[in-house]
C-alpha cells in the first residue's frame, strides 16, 4: 500500500454537509502536511469537494478557511519547522497565511460528480440512503479506470450491501466519523469479508495521522454507535409515551430529558441529542437499520409525526442548534414542542411542577461538566447510583430503568456480535458520545 499515492487524488461526496465538511477539512490538512515533507515535494494533490449545492460549497470554502487557520494557530511550533526552508516567511502570521493558502489550494469545489472519476480514493458522506449511495458509488466506479477505493461514512448501512450494490469487490471500507469530525476523536472502522488488506492498512494509517481513536465494529446495520443510540432514544420516546398518560406530553418530554441528562450525568438529555443529530436523521437511520433486526421493531410513530410536521432539529451552518423536540435560545433549552398545539411551551411554565414530580436529586449527584475532566470517576458514580437505587422518587425510578436499559443495549451489541467486546462498546459511548461512564457497568444491577 502506497499511502501517499492513494492520497494524491481524492474526492469527498457530500462535501458541504455536516460530516462531509469535517472530512474534507481533515483530509485537506493531511494532504498539506504530507506535501510539506521534503520527500513529497514532487507530488501533486487534488481534493475534489463534491456537493449538489453551489451555495453550500461557497459556505464550505469559508468554513474551511476559518478552521484551517485555527488548526494552524494551534500547531505553530510544528509549522515553523515545516516552512524552515522558506526564507520569505518569517513571522508566525506569514507562515499561517501560507499554510492556509496551501491547504485551500488542494480543494476543488464542484457540483460535477464526474470530477470523482479521476480519483483514486473516494470518501462518501451523502445522506443515509442506501440506494443513493449505491447509485453514486457505482456510477463513479464504472466510469473510473483507477479501481478507486471507497471509504463510506455511513453510520447505519451495512458495508457489504454497498459493496455488493455497487459491485466494488473488496474496495470499500466503513469509516464512520463522529460529529463534528474535526473534533470528535472516534472513528468506527468496518470491514467486510472481502475488504482488501491494503485498504484496511490505508484506513488505519489515515486514522492514525488524523489522531483518531479507531474502534472496529462488525458489519451490522447501525454498527456500535447507532446500535446503542437508536435503541436508547427509542427507550426515551417510549418512556415519554408512558408518562404522557398521567402527565401532559410536554411535561413527559421535559422529565425524560432531564432524567437522561442530570440523573444519568450525560452531556445532554436524550431529546437534545436527537435534535442535535436531527429528528429526520434519527428517523432515516432507524429506517435503514430496522429491516435487519429480527426480534425488535426499531421505529417510532412519534418521529414520523414530527418529521411530517417539519420539526427536524439539526444545526444551522453557523453550528447553532435548530429547534426540534426542544426550543433553544442562546444554546439553552427554553421550550418544549407540543405536537397538538404545534407550538413550543416555555420550560419556565412547567419546570417547577415537573421537578416536584421527579423529586429531589440526591446530594451525591454530580454535574457532567465537573466530572468529565477526572480520570477515575467510579467512586462518584457508585455513590450516585447507589443512592438512586434506594430512593423512592419518580426521577430515581426512571433513571434506574434508563441506566439498566442502556446496559442491556450494550450487552446485546456484544451478544449479537456487532461489537467485538464490552470494552469496545464502552469506548464508543465514552469517546463518540462523551458519556462519563460506559453503558456496560455494575451501577444498575
Amino acid at each position: 500500500m502506497d499511502y501517499i499515492n492513494k492520497l494524491e487524488k481524492v474526492s469527498v461526496l457530500g462535501a458541504a454537509g455536516k460530516m462531509g465538511s469535517g472530512i474534507l477539512l481533515l483530509t485537506a490538512v493531511e494532504m498539506a502536511d504530507q506535501a510539506l515533507k521534503s520527500e513529497n515535494k514532487d507530488k501533486s494533490f487534488t481534493l475534489n469537494a463534491i456537493d449538489v449545492s453551489n451555495d453550500a460549497l461557497g459556505g464550505l470554502m469559508r468554513y474551511l478557511k476559518v478552521q484551517v487557520q485555527k488548526l494552524a494557530e494551534k500547531k505553530m511550533v510544528a509549522l515553523r519547522g515545516m516552512y524552515a526552508d522558506r526564507n520569505d516567511l518569517i513571522e508566525n502570521g506569514e507562515i499561517i497565511d501560507q499554510y492556509v493558502l496551501d491547504v485551500m489550494t488542494y480543494v476543488r469545489p464542484t457540483t460535477a460528480l464526474e470530477a470523482a472519476y479521476n480519483s483514486t480514493l473516494v470518501f462518501e458522506a451523502v445522506s443515509e440512503n442506501k440506494d443513493l449511495k449505491n447509485k453514486l458509488l457505482s456510477q463513479i466506479d464504472k466510469n473510473s479506470s483507477n479501481k478507486p477505493w471507497f471509504l463510506t461514512n455511513t453510520s447505519s448501512v451495512p458495508i457489504h450491501e454497498l459493496e455488493k450494490g455497487a459491485d466494488l469487490k473488496g474496495r470499500i471500507v466503513g469509516f464512520h466519523f463522529y460529529n463534528p469530525p474535526a473534533v470528535q476523536k472516534l472513528v468506527e472502522l468496518i470491514v467486510t469479508d472481502a475488504t482488501a488488506a491494503d485498504l484496511k492498512d490505508f484506513a488505519m494509517t489515515y486514522a492514525k495521522n488524523l489522531r483518531k481513536i479507531i474502534v472496529p465494529s462488525n458489519d451490522f446495520a447501525g454498527f456500535i454507535g447507532n446500535g446503542h443510540f437508536m435503541r436508547d432514544a427509542l427507550h426515551g420516546i417510549h418512556t415519554v409515551e408512558k408518562l404522557a398518560k398521567e402527565n401532559s406530553f410536554v411535561e413527559a418530554v421535559y422529565m425524560v430529558n432531564k432524567v437522561s441528562q442530570d440523573y444519568l450525568v450525560r452531556p445532554m438529555g436524550i431529546f437534545q441529542l436527537i435534535d442535535y443529530v436531527g429528528v429526520d436523521v434519527v428517523k432515516f437511520i432507524m429506517n435503514v437499520m430496522n429491516p435487519y433486526l429480527k426480534d425488535e421493531d426499531l421505529h417510532s410513530d412519534l418521529l414520523d409525526k414530527y418529521f411530517e410536521l417539519g420539526v427536524k432539529g439539526g444545526q444551522f451552518s453557523s453550528g447553532a442548534q435548530k429547534d426540534g423536540f426542544l426550543k433553544y435560545e442562546k444554546g439553552r433549552v427554553s421550550g418544549i414542542y407540543d405536537p397538538d398545539k404545534k407550538d413550543y411551551v416555555a420550560v419556565a411554565d412547567i419546570q417547577e411542577a415537573c421537578d416536584k414530580k421527579l423529586g429531589d436529586l440526591p446530594k451525591s449527584c454530580v454535574a457532567w461538566k465537573s466530572i468529565i475532566g477526572k480520570k477515575d470517576r467510579s467512586k462518584e458514580f457508585t455513590a450516585l447510583f447507589g443512592d438512586l437505587k434506594n430512593m423512592d422518587t419518580l426521577g430515581a425510578k426512571l433513571a434506574m430503568e434508563y441506566g439498566a436499559r442502556s446496559n442491556a443495549i450494550g450487552k446485546k451489541l456484544v451478544a449479537d456480535n456487532v461489537a467485538h467486546s464490552e470494552a469496545d462498546v464502552n469506548t464508543v459511548m465514552l469517546t463518540g458520545f462523551f458519556h462519563a461512564y460506559g453503558p456496560i457497568n455494575e451501577y444498575f444491577v
Partner: protein
Amino acid sequence: MKLRRKVYMTAGYNTISLGTGRKEFNPKKERPGLEHYLKEAGQGTLTQIGGADNVDEGVVGNFMASRFNKQAHLGAFMPMIDAKLMYKPSIRTEGACASGGLALISGIKSILAETAEVVLSVGVEVQNTQKAIYGADVLAGAGWFQKRKDGHAYFFPGQFSDRAGAYYEKYGKDYTRKGLAKWFANAMDNARLCDTAQEHHNTHPNPIELGMMEPNGKVFTDHLNVFDCSKVSDGASAIAIMSEDGLKRCGIAKKDAVEVIGLGHAVGDITEDPKDLTRLDTIEKAIQLAFESAGITKDDLATIEVHDCFTIAGILATEALGFAERGKGAQFVADGNTARDGKIPINTTGGLIGWGHPTGATGVHQAVTIWEQLTGRAGKAQIEIPANRPYGMTINMGGDDKTVVAIVYKQGE
C-alpha cells in the same frame, strides 16, 4: 551618575492588569482600548497632585501600540487625558519592555535639567487585541529581526527557554525547576493580595505543583512551561516625577513621595547573542551603576521589583544582584528568601508573572509598587520596611537583557 538635584516620585496609580485570569476578562467581548487605559491611569495620578495645571510635561512609555493597536504617536494623547495638558510638551519612549522604565528616565532627566518641575509619566500597553500566537510576532520586535526566522514560534519564551536549558545543564534540572516553581508560587501569593493584579482571582490550591509541570517542546518550549511565563496583559500605570519645587507646587509632603536616590541605565548590543546564557550581564551592569549612583549596596534594600517576564529571569536577577552566587539563585529562591516574609521580599504585588505584564506599563508599575511599599500604601500587600535598610529598587528590562533601567528609591524626608 550623580544626581545634581533631588528628584521625587509620587501619586502612583495602576489600572487593573486585564487578561486571562481576571474574572472580567472575556476574549470574545469587546474590551477597553488604549484611550481608556491612558485616561484612567493619567487621571488617577492627576487627581492626587491637584490637577493637570500643575504638570509641566508628559511622557508616555509604550512598546508596540503601533502593531497591537495600529496606533503610533502616543505622546499626543496627553491632552485627551486632561484638556489642561493642551500645548504642553509630551513625548513617547520606547525600549521594548523597558519602555516604562525609559518613561521614568525621561521624566527624571527633565527634572535634573530643570526644564520641568512636575512630569506626568504614564506607561501603557493593550495586547489582548490579537491571539498570543500573533502577539508573539509583535513582541519579537524586542529582539533582532534578523534572528526571527530561526527563533521559536513563541519567540521570547523560546529565548528564555534556552537560558533555562543552559542553567539546567550547568546546575541540574530538578534543582532549578524547584526554584522556578517557587518563584511562580510567590507570584501567586503576592498577586492574591493586590486587587489590580491579573492573578488576583487565582485560587489554585497548589501553585508549586503547577510550576513543576514538565515543559513540552512539541506545543510550547523545551525548558519552560506556561506558568514560567508572564501572561498577555492590558493595563496602564502612572506616576508623577517631581522636584522639591514640584512637590511644593502640588502640596505633597516629602514623606508621601519616594526620592530617587540613584539610577543605572545601560544597553547591550541587540545584534549579539548573550555571551553566557546563565547570566544577565546588562542587568548586572545597570544594577552596579544604580548602586554606585545611590551609594548603597544590596544589603541596604528592603524590597525589589525585578523584571520576571519569565521565572528564570527572576532567578538570574537574584544572582545579578549578588544575593546568590552563580548557580545558587534557584536554591536562594526555593528556600523562600524572596517570598514576602523572606530575607529580601521581591515583587510584592506579584511582579510580571503575578501582577501582569502590560509591556510598556511595566517599568512604571514597578515604580508605583515601590512608592506604595515605601510610603505604606500597599494595603493587604504591604510588607514591613526595616529602618536600617529603607531602600527600594526597580529593575526594568527590555528584550533579552538589552535595555535595562535600574532605579534606587527611599521614602522622602
